[in-house]
Symmetry: C2
Subunit: 233 residues, 2 copies
DNA sequence: GTGACTTATAAGTCTGACTTTTTGTCTCTG
DNA sequence: CAGAGACAAAAAGTCAGACTTATAAGTCAC
């Protein structure tokens, strides 16, 4: 991930960020810069820089004569990769994982459809390579290697869509997939049907069949939703 | 929007942010904190805080002995509302508007489907109210008033989806709709068909018909794509 | 040319003094 | 007693200067 704690203010953020996103300080809580600086044993300058970053994420608001107040969750910049990471590391990890999976289910099919239209020859090749890698590692408890190919596959699809907003969701998808492998369901080998679907998506994109690529990807994401019991019966 | 220029570092950001996102400093450009501080006539402390914020948006990277280097566009946190606003105010506004509209077309239909399942009675009422407001202002060059209801409508749908990631896209959609009314197409009254679709979506959500709500919203977003000539023939 | 050593550079950090805004309170007045 | 206005305190905001540290780049010996 991003270089952790590069500098003192980074170290402060590594502690304060998770604490705030975990709800340790309820909305409206007031923090004092000086007290925080003392607590973390850093200078006020460093503390102020950390507060500025939290402020830019809309986690807190700094006002004169009152202090640094924690903002309600609804105002946080939940698309900030740093915030996502903090929340995934904390208590509402399951909730966060569900939100992100629903987001995936909306975005990825459309992205796959666009990829079928815009993917370059090299991207098609990469996609096929990833799919083959998934097939090769889909049996024999090689979950770790499988994950690498799975993540790469979805990254390429999002990038090949040609839409920068989709492309930037690559990191998010990576976190979700990694989270699923490491902490949630998926104790055994991946579902063979899912693996097949990935191969077929790669084919559809190569063939330029947008409708088919979209539909197949929708099936993949439906599977992801079902794994988390999100889908209505 | 967010309070502009709250503090000196805010003023610096209001100038530096747009400049960077506009590509005024090509990727790899090196800025020196001291020089910037002199140029903006602020102390180094203030300048450092501004740089920290830009760093948290992944617009720049600060390294010892080298300076503050501008990161390639592909690494920017393009979901940061501040970054979106800066880019919408700059040269690649059209490009940004297209990216965001495609994102809308992926997200909003799914959000509407979820809203049909999760919307509260009050949210249904608000939705109907917005739709009626749109109808009432859809004729007679009352674009400004129409926009207010339109934005409110989409905000409620996204919020009613019950997914926080969707809900936080309310601001983005607001920017896109406002941009469309103010600077792009839409010189005359809105398309009557679109207005009708909004009313029908409100009905579908109230009736709990997820499939219909999703399909109708998809038609709305298809219209938005066509306005920007994005859709393939 | 390769490797170890030195040096210059720009960011990083700390401290202390000072300024500014805001809010809560207190008083004065009707 | 209520409302307006003056006052004081609190906390963030700003600045300047000295010092530390990492590191890119240049230098020298081999």
């Amino acid at each position: 991930m991003t270089t952790p704690g590069r500098g003192l203010h980074g170290h402060v953020l590594d502690t304060l960020g998770p604490a705030i996103t975990a709800g340790e300080y309820p909305p409206g809580s007031v923090l004092r810069t000086d007290e925080l600086a003392q607590h973390f044993e850093v200078s006020r300058s460093v503390m102020r820089e950390a507060v500025r970053v939290l402020e830019s994420m809309h986690l807190v608001e700094s006002r004169r004569r009152v202090g640094v107040t924690v903002r309600p969750k609804a105002e946080w910049n939940v698309y900030d990769p740093q915030v996502i990471r903090w929340r995934l590391a904390g208590a509402d990890r399951p909730h966060q994982l569900r939100s992100l999976t629903v987001l995936r289910s909306a975005v990825e099919p459309v992205a796959a459809g666009l990829a079928a239209k815009h993917a370059t020859a090299q991207q098609c090749a990469e996609l096929t390579e990833c799919a083959l890698g998934m097939v090769a590692t889909s049996r024999g408890h090689r979950l770790q290697e499988y994950l690498v190919h799975d993540v790469a596959f979805h990254r390429v699809v999002l990038a090949a869509s040609g839409n920068e907003m989709f492309a930037r969701l690559g990191d998010v998808v990576a976190e979700v997939l990694a989270g699923r492998t490491h902490h949630e369901v998926m104790f055994e080998d991946p579902d063979p049907a899912a693996v097949t679907l990935h191969v077929q998506v790669a084919e559809a994109v190569r063939a330029g069949d947008a409708t088919r690529a979209e539909q197949l990807t929708r099936e993949i994401t439906v599977g992801a939703l079902q794994e988390l019991d999100i889908l209505a019966p």
